[in-house]
Amino acid sequence: MTTVLFFVFAAAALGGALGVVLSRNPVHSALWLVQTLLSVAVFFLLQDAELVAAVQVIVYAGAIVVLFIFVIMLLGVDRHESLEDPVKVQRPAAIALGALVLAEIVFLAGHEWATGARTARGAPIEGGTGAFADYNNIERVAHVMFIDYMWAFQITAGLLVVAVVGAIVLARRSGERPEGQEPGTPAPERAGPESGSGQRPDDAAVEEPVGEGAT
């Protein structure tokens, strides 16, 4: 049963990956990417890693690819992208690096020094040891995250918040709101041509790159 499921979803994952590369339409590519990500979530389930599977679906399929599609939809996909490579060495370099990564994965599949975990060739870890024996997957992750590495986790969270706040501060400069708008009220729907009415001419010139950076 597990083997059958693995092969079915391995085919789906590979098919999705091919679809991402071969689709001419970026939205189709994004959809194929969703298929690959969901298939990988099934692999996690087959490995009894249900929390990672849920996170895979919520974060990758539910948020990141949604963001991709958002950007693609807003930038417009009707423009035909030229397939000419602006950087000539890029394609051979990509093939060489891809081959290197593949070799690396094949090599690492037989060794455990990189991660310290048991490999596909070693015996699977049964039920954990010591204090973790009675815990399920979620409880073990929670134990590691909120007890063993509490400070590292909190500091990382703080770092991410600072990064987000910093991005907002950089992207949004005060005193440039359209006329008649209350300070602090987001007006995404007014981002049409009329939104520049309250701006000084010199600021309008730098408006464009900042908007792209925020996207």
Binding site: M1, T2, N25, V27, H28, L31, V34, L45, L46, D48, A49, E50, L51, A53, A54, V55, V57, I58, A61, G62, A63, V66, I69, F70, M73, L74, N136, N137, I138, S174, G175, T185, P186, A187, P188, E189
Partner: protein
């Protein structure tokens, strides 16, 4: 594989032919239950709204117009399906199914009744009980977004695209508030599995309702989260007053403007299925799911089929009906929000309150676990308040004033 199967006693041990049949029957029953529930909910909603507006409402099809939804469904089924010339055909056809599939799947984790015995198999009256439980709901509402987004994009015209962008922004914003509201319940229950959450709220006398007794409903300890969950759930399901995704004055029909016939019906169905699922989840998380008094007081044996099969399902349905009735009141009485009001409510009010309430719940839970008295809690809370204000004050002093910013420029 055990990750998929969860704690259902049916799926532990050998899986023979009977088990497979039971699972298939359960799947079909849950699907039929959702379809029939949508049918009756739409009729019920139209009747109640008609009452509130001094009208009669549907009355032609069947007794009291109860078959009105069926008639509408048959009509939609036989209507011509049009596809805009500019549409992306494949995605256009795929989108409705991406919308309805998560709506159905999310209901699979809802415990409808207790643990029953069929033949010599014991099984839970719920389709699936994965250990990730509630996270599965969040995953499915994330996937459900694709149906709306792709429907709007693939239609190849402006209004659906604008509707889809609005819908995605709305769903993403309110998912945060909903997730934080659920956190408070998870702190109380200590588990993600819906079956264990319901078991933690088992009936223990009338005190269960108000938070007394060994096991009690999570309603009173997490009452603020309950309110936030209901508001966020309505926003997630595009229920009025959050239906600006399909605001007719601004967007024609929103993301499904170009859809006709059965494909439109599927979107419609998915929306109501989502609403029913959300209310069912609210019942599970806050109102104890199938927990309620059994008939042992009337002299009926605790092992009788009435107590094992019927009463839990009846209690679940009663609670679900109460919540669904409340959504109809909201639908009939509140005007639609403006886009900026929607975003302000979500980001500046609900998320903050849900977050603070989750932290308060956590503190009270820890205090309860270590056996702290009321005075300890008050002192700790006072210290936390003072500390919080000090940190906020320092941050406030660090922010440059508006005049200073002007000077720098």
């Amino acid at each position: 594989m055990s990750a998929l199967l969860g704690s259902d006693p049916l799926l532990i041990g050998d899986i023979d032919f009977t088990v497979v049949v039971i699972v298939i029957v359960k799947t079909v029953l849950v699907f039929a239950l959702l379809l029939v529930a949508v049918m009756f909910y739409i009729w019920f909603m139209r009747k109640v709204i008609a009452d509130m507006q001094n009208r009669i409402g549907p009355q032609r099809a069947g007794p009291f117009g109860i078959l009105q939804t069926l008639a509408d469904g048959i009509k939609l089924f036989f209507k011509e399906q049009s596809e805009p010339a500019t549409a992306d055909k494949r995605v256009f056809r795929l989108a409705p199914y991406l919308s309805i599939l998560p709506a159905f799947l999310a209901f699979a984790i809802v415990p409808i009744g207790g643990v029953v015995t069929i033949g010599d198999h014991r099984t839970q009256l719920q389709l699936a009980d994965p250990p990730i439980g509630v996270l599965f709901l969040l995953a499915m509402s994330g996937i459900g977004l694709y149906g709306v987004m792709l429907a709007g994009w693939s239609s190849g015209s402006k209004y659906p695209l604008l509707g889809a962008v609005r819908a995605s922004a709305q769903l993403l914003s309110y998912e945060a508030a909903m997730g934080l509201a659920i956190v408070a319940v998870l702190i109380q229950s200590g588990t993600l599995s819906t079956r264990e959450i319901v078991d933690g709220q088992a009936w223990d006398g009338l005190g269960s309702i108000i938070g007394r007794g060994d096991t009690h409903w999570f309603l009173v300890p997490t009452i603020v989260s309950f309110v936030i969950f209901l508001i966020a759930a309505m926003a997630e399901t595009n229920h009025p007053p959050f239906d600006l995704v399909e605001a007719e004055q601004e967007l024609v029909g929103g993301f499904h403007t170009e859809y006709t016939g059965i494909r439109f019906a599927i979107f419609f169905l998915a929306e109501f299925m989502n609403l029913i699922t959300m209310c069912a989840i609210a019942v599970t998380l806050f109102l104890g799911g199938p927990s309620g008094p059994s008939l042992t007081g009337l002299g009926i044996d605790a092992g009788s089929w009435l107590n094992v099969w019927v009463m839990p399902v009846v209690w679940f349905m009663v609670k679900l009906l109460v919540l669904l009735y409340a959504t109809v009141w909201v639908r009939a009485s509140l005007p639609r929000l403006r886009y900026d009001q929607l975003m302000n409510l979500g980001w500046k009010l609900l998320i903050e309150i849900a977050f603070v309430w989750a932290m308060i719940t956590a503190v009270l839970k820890v205090a309860q676990d270590v056996g702290a008295g009321a005075i300890d809690i008050i002192i700790t809370a006072a210290c936390a308040l003072v500390g919080g204000f000090v940190i906020l004050g320092i941050l406030y002093l660090c922010i440059p004033k508006r005049e200073e910013v002007e000077e720098i420029k």
